[in-house]
Subunit: 199 residues, 2 copies
């Protein structure tokens, strides 16, 4: 059983790494198997298709990201709006580290896949939509808390959280295009200015 | 000569349309030739590779976008900040029309390509970087004008223009992921709140 788990896990981790470094379509099942040291038959034993593998990667990586990184970022040890600054700082540091290791800013794995695959695969698009919505939730809570504390004027917290997620994705795409993590550091703080009024 | 021009133009337009609807890697030279009704030998007569074709598409489409759409959006017939609202309105209407025609929000062709190809092709990444920088310039001018008129407090106009381009790209990516052009209309106005102070 341990070996079955290992093989599946190795496929997931290898594919995730390859997709992130390049793109979904540039990486085929054969390359994933080769890199993971797994036979093609085994791949199809675990995943009916590359798409199923991708959905599994999205579910697993997002679960992990929520339980570790996001939980830490949005912990209540600091005032609400500072948690958004912490989110930006964590993103900046991630991309700085990746660039140091690979020479490249790889962008947001979810944003990359959304841009490449949203018109081509409804299941993947729906999953990504759910992930972006999930990311809005703790931001919305931060905004509600900040409003209650009088640190923010009244605004539409759900729409503003949506604007902030869009801005974060846009910043990350620009950091990738400029191949420069400093884009996030330099422009990140402006995220706190975004506000959608209650309509 | 007219036919040579037609063939080349047909290849450019066909590839541009296919890339925009799907992705760069999902569309091969063979499909482009088939759709355009052009022999493969002809393709390679005009373009040494798919990448060269892509660079030509970027140059030509961006030149046209600047000379028509951007020139109209940033015309000085209305006050500076209203031109940014006009940019958002034009984007919204474009994606609404595309969705009506295809059933899908296709996103920004430059943003899509940046997300998919920036780590895989330096020439394409550099060209896209130039395009995003080009888009910052008229926004920067609008901000300078608005500051001179006293409509905006002093801010770093270049960095703020960068933030606005990032936001527009992020919004467009979210509209694609949600398959809903209303994302741009609902969250667009918040773009005018973005401000990076002079450091």
């Amino acid at each position: 059983m341990a070996q079955v788990h290992d093989t599946k896990q190795r496929l997931l981790e290898t594919a995730q790494k390859l997709f992130y470094a390049r793109s979904y379509e540039d990486v085929g099942v054969q390359e994933i198997c080769q890199e993971a040291g797994v036979k093609k038959g085994s791949f199809y034993h675990f995943f009916p298709s590359k798409r199923d593998l991708t959905l599994a990667i999205l579910d697993e990586s997002w679960k992990q990201y929520r339980e570790t990184m996001l939980a830490e970022v949005f912990a209540r040890d600091i005032p609400p709006l500072q948690r958004i600054e912490r989110l930006l700082e964590v993103q900046y540091r991630h991309h700085k580290t990746v660039k140091k290791e690979t020479g490249q800013v790889l962008g947001c794995p979810y944003g990359n896949l959304a841009g490449e695959m949203s018109t081509q695969d409804e299941a993947i698009r729906e999953r990504l939509k759910g992930i972006f919505r999930d990311l809005e939730v703790p931001i919305e809570q931060v905004l509600e808390e900040a409003m209650a504390a009088g640190d923010l004027p009244e605004l539409d917290s759900r729409a503003t959280a949506g604007a902030m997620v869009a801005y974060l994705e846009g910043l990350t795409l620009m950091a990738k295009t400029w191949n420069d993590p400093q884009v996030i550091r330099k422009l990140g703080a402006a995220m706190l200015k975004l506000a959608v009024p209650v309509s």
